[in-house]
Structures are given as C-alpha cells and as structure tokens.
C-alpha cells in the first residue's frame, strides 16, 4: 500500500526534476550553506554566482547558450550535502557542481562526484587538500581565496617584518581545519625565533570570549594572529580590547572584512587577504557594484568570492565550447587561466599539476584613523604555492 504511494510520489517528483531542466543550456549545480552557520559567507558566494550569470544570460549567454545554476541548501551539514550532491550527479544534464559551504560537506560531495565523474569547483570555502600540487584530483578545482598553510606563514612573516621580536598569541576555532593551521602557524613562528605564548581554541558557539582573551592578554602577547571563521576572530579581538589590551591583531580577511573594518575603526585591527577590497576602486569593483545593486540582501562587498568563481566558470565554459559534457569541461578546466581584473592580485591558473593556483597574492589592510578610511598596509605580495 505504502510503497505504491511512494512510487507515485517519486514519479511525480521525477517529473518535476526532468521537466524543469532545459537541456540546451549549461547546467551547473550549487550546494551551499544558505541558512546554516556559515550563511553570511556561503550565501554571499551563491548570490555572487547567481547575479553574475543572470547578467551573462541577459547578454546572450556563453557560446550562445544560457547558464542555469541549480541551487540547493546544505546548511554545512554533511548529510544534506550528500543528498544535494547525489541529486546533482544523477541529473544527466548537469555539468559541474559548485560547493560553497564549510569543509564538513566536502567528503560527501567528493564521494558523489567520483561516482559519476562530475567536476567540482570549491568556491568561497577552504580549498581541500586534493586540489593542491603536485598531484591534484582530476575532477576537483578551487577558486577560494584562502589556503590555510600559506596564509598563516605569510601572516607570521608580515608580523615579523613589522616588529622583529613580537610575542605572538594565537587563537583558532575548535574545528579541525582552523586548529590545524594555527598549529602550523605556531611551529612556523617558533622556527622563525618568535616567542609564541600558546594556542587558544574556542568552540564554534561560545557565549563569552573573555576567558580566551584573558589568557592571551595575561600571556603578554603584543601581536595576536587568528585564522578562523570571522566570529572567532572578531569576537576575540573585541574581548581583548574590552580587557584594555593595546596590541595588534591580525586575522584572515573573509568577505565580510571590508564592512567590518569600517565598523570597528581600530588601527590595531588588521586583515590579510587574497581578495582586493572595494575601497581599491578598480573598474571591476564599480562593475560589481552596478550589476548587483538591489539584487542581494548582503552588502555588495561580500560578493567578491562569488564573482571570482563565476568569472572562472564563465571562462571554463567558453573554452569547453558547445556541445559539452562533464569530461570535456573538466579537461577544459585543466590549463585554464583567468584574469581577475583586480579582484585578486593575480590570475587563477590551473594546470595538470595544480588545481589551486601557482602564485598567491596577499595584501594587508587596516584602518586609517586620521583619514577615516581603509588603507593598504602592504601591497600585493606573491607567494609560491608548493
């Protein structure tokens, strides 16, 4: 009895899925954290991609074909991501999956992608180990700005270039990826002869960051480095200032960083990032502002990562041509080079041995109290990705 109703239901459902897809367009599937704990970050990536392709479609599409992005919400939960990925890979028309959520969703996505040979682009979240040289997974690509190990090393070098004998405090979020990178930062800083006063790690929901801040302050840190989701970084900093701490705090600049710098207005709060800020005023920034005006609930400065991913995808689809299939797209992505026109310090270049990029370009931004504006403390500095 029951199973028959299930059959009907599934048939109806199948009908939905098959009728809504137009096979004469490029179909991409995005699984992102739209309503979960990373919604401010991942949701903005999804919005950036959506708005970008809406414009592409208005102006004639790519190679004469429109781009359709199917969006699903995974709330950064692995089981939801698994369902999303399964739905996507089983859709015969779908060419590529985009993942914009926390790293907890990567295993299911990768697992499903391998089953059906669907390329995956990681956009906005941290890049998985599988995309890095020397031997990247042929199906996995990443455009995200940050890269754990290289990032923290750059930050440590920057601190040392500003203050030779800094006492360094470290804070991470108690999630594996953040803990791991900060552990590496500790080792690297020690090898550079810095004094490191331990590594604090706050669980994702923390009611009060003051105990962590107390420990950092009492340890005598004059610089604190954080590489974690934005809440941990900024709340630790604010708790430190509440305690009357006078040092400098440097943390990774996620896409919320620009608005946050303008809010905090503290010259001792610095961010290092691979994404240029809209205060740079490049033509591409003006273009994003004009295109996205009124189309997103996020501040437009959040759309950086999404825009980078969409520009890269557009280039990949253009190169893959029409007709196209999954394998053809994946091979087009191997050996792609995309000029990001100032959104980043340099291009995204993928090769057979590197699905990340060969050079990373970092900038350090801070607050100019006198001029009441964001200022660049260190201009694009390139780092080789090993």
């Amino acid at each position: 009895m029951i199973k028959r109703s299930q059959l009907m239901l599934a048939a109806v459902l199948g009908a939905f899925v098959s009728t809504t897809l137009a096979a004469d367009s490029y179909v991409l599937g995005l699984t992102g954290d739209l309503t979960g704990r990373d919604a401010a970050n991942s949701g903005a990536v999804a919005d950036g991609i959506r708005i970008y392709f809406e414009r592409v479609n208005r102006t004639g599409g790519i190679n004469g074909h429109k781009v359709e992005v199917l969006v699903r919400d995974n709330q950064s939960e692995p089981s939801r991501a698994a369902t999303d990925a399964q739905t996507f890979v089983n859709n015969e028309d779908l060419l590529l999956m985009i993942t914009a959520s926390l790293s907890s969703t990567y295993a299911p996505t990768i697992s499903e992608s391998k089953r059906k040979g669907v390329p995956v682009l990681f956009a906005g979240g941290v890049c998985p180990r599988e995309v890095f040289p020397p031997k990247p997974d042929p199906l996995l690509f990443c455009t995200s700005g940050y890269a754990a190990e290289t990032d923290v090393k750059f930050a440590v070098d920057y601190i040392q270039s500003v203050q030779k004998n800094a006492t360094l405090g470290l804070i991470s979020m108690a999630i594996p990826i953040s803990r791991g990178s900060i552990d590496q930062a500790a080792e690297y800083a020690k090898s550079k002869g810095m004094k490191v006063i331990g590594h604090e790690s706050a669980p994702p929901p923390t009611a009060n960051y003051t105990p962590y801040a107390t420990k950092l302050k009492e340890g005598g840190a004059d610089w604190v480095l954080s590489w974690a989701p934005w809440v941990t970084q900024v709340k630790t900093f604010e708790a430190l200032r509440q305690l009357g701490w006078k040092g400098n705090f440097i943390s990774y600049g996620h896409n919320v960083a620009e608005e946050e710098l303008k809010r905090i207005k503290d010259p001792g709060f610095l961010v290092f990032t691979t994404n240029g800020m809209f205060s740079d005023g490049q033509p591409v920034h003006k273009d994003v502002l004009a295109t996205a005006e009124g189309k997103t609930k996020f501040p437009i400065t959040y759309l950086n990562e999404g825009w980078v991913a969409a520009m890269t995808l557009e280039a990949a689809l253009k190169k893959a041509g029409w007709p196209v299939n999954r394998a053809k797209l994946a091979s087009a992505m191997d050996g792609l080079s995309v000029d990001l026109r100032g959104l980043r310090g340099g291009p995204i270049t993928w090769t057979k041995t590197n699905h990340y990029r060969e050079q990373l370009y970092y900038r350090v931004y801070g607050w100019d109290a006198a001029g009441n504006r964001i200022k660049t403390l260190k201009d694009w500095t390139s780092r080789e990705v090993k």
């Binding site: 704990r37 706050a202 009060n208 105990p211």
Partner: protein, 290 residues
Amino acid sequence: MQTVANIAVLVAIYALIGSGYVLIYRVSRVLNLAQGELMMLVAYLLFSLATLFGGHPASALAGAVLLSLLVGLVLYVVLMRRMTGELVIAAVLVTIALGILLRGLMVLVWTGQMARPLEKLGWQNSPLALGHGVALSSVAVTTIFVAIAIYVGLFVFFRYTAWGVRMRAVGENPLLAAQRGIKLHVAYAMAWALATFSGGCAGMLLALDSGLDGTMAIIGLKAFPVVLVGGLDSLRGAIVGALIVASAEVLAIQLIDPLVSDVVPFVVLIAMLAVRPWGLFGTEEDIQRV
C-alpha cells in the same frame, strides 16, 4: 582576579538561560528545548525595535521586554496549551519542532548575518576598569546585575505573591491545585511568559555584548547541563549549577586546555546523572524510577 570576573559573567549568562528551563519545568513539567531559539528570537526582536526607534533606546528595550512576555504567552495559548495531558515526551518534541520552525522563520526574516543591536541603540560597549587590573565590558557588568535582579525578583515572586505561590502549587500537584480553584492554564501561561522573558534577557544581553547570529540557539543548548546539574525544578539549583559549570569551563580554559572546555559541561552532566539524576537541588520524589 580577572578569572573570577570572567566566571561571574558566565555564571550570570548561564543562570539567566537556565532560569528559563527551570521556570517552565517547575510549573508544567515540560522541558522546553526551544529555549535557545526563544532567546534568539527576543534578541532579534530587540534588534528590529532598536532599528525602528533608533533615537529612543529605552523604549526599544521596554518594547523588547514586553514582546518577550507576549511571545511566551502566545506560544502557550496557541501551542503548548494543546499539549496538556499528552505524553511528556510529545510535549518536549513539540518544543523541539518549535525550535526548528523558529530557526527557519528567523533566517527568513533576519537572514543569517551578524546583527548588532547595540549600535542600533546608539550605545557604546565601553570597557569598565574594576580595579586590581580587572576589566569587563559594560554590558558584561550589566549582565551580572540583571541576573541578580531577575533572580531576586523571581524569589520574591514565588515566595510572597499570591500568583507565585499558586504557580508553585500547580508545579507540585496540578490536580489538587485545580481543585483549590487555581486556574492551571493561567499559571502555565505565566510560566511560559516569565521563562521567555528571563531567557530573552540572556539573549538580549549576549547580543548587546558581542552581536547576534544563528549560533545563539546552540548557546541555549549549552546551558542545558547547568539546569540538569542543579536540578530541573529548582531556581537555586540553576544558580549553583551555573556556578559549577561556568567555573569548570573557565578554569579548563585557563589552566588545562581550551579544547577541553567544550566537553566539560557534559562530563559534569554525566557524572551528575550517574550519581544524582535529579540534580543537586531537584526534587527526588519527582523522578520516575523503576
């Protein structure tokens, strides 16, 4: 010294959230697992009111407090009243479902972005130096005073006012209470309103101190061990439970390893469940045992 101050702040936060659990459980024997979502909702309401009455922080705060009482009342009248007489676990499940519903609605209305009601109220969270090298944010100091005020208020209410005594009577034996002419539904509704208010205060203060996003609901759940340790039906227990859990947490951060702090509350909880499942101050007869 700073450590003591940190513990005091965390005790105040946990005790406020915990009082919400205790109030409802004590009067109606329902465990409200939507407590975290309710405190988040009240905090968001404050944010919206602060946006509306930008220039009048006092009216925004008063409005939020009134709304918190109203939300609790409405929830009882519309929803929880229907669960009277159902299985306890069914009522608990309703609160879980309510939590899911509220979280979805809150994302819908306020998105998942960080909201900062303090800025909307036009206030500064300036640090206060308390001597001996101890400093706390002004909101943190306020939290401690609010927690004390609310607890004193609740004790007075339950001890000296007619409705307080009635609510205690309902909690002890609803049947007898009803036969004495106490209106059960009024007592339950008041418990829900008060619990939403005191939990909501915790939510508002947390939001004022460090902003508000989707993770606040989980903080509500983190305070759950507090009331179990203290005893689900004892306000005094909630304070002691908060003291134990908060001290264990802060000391773990300070002295052992910050990573341990996340599991400490649950370790304390398991130890307590093994030894005294009804908690330090809970009513022993009350527990269902074989």
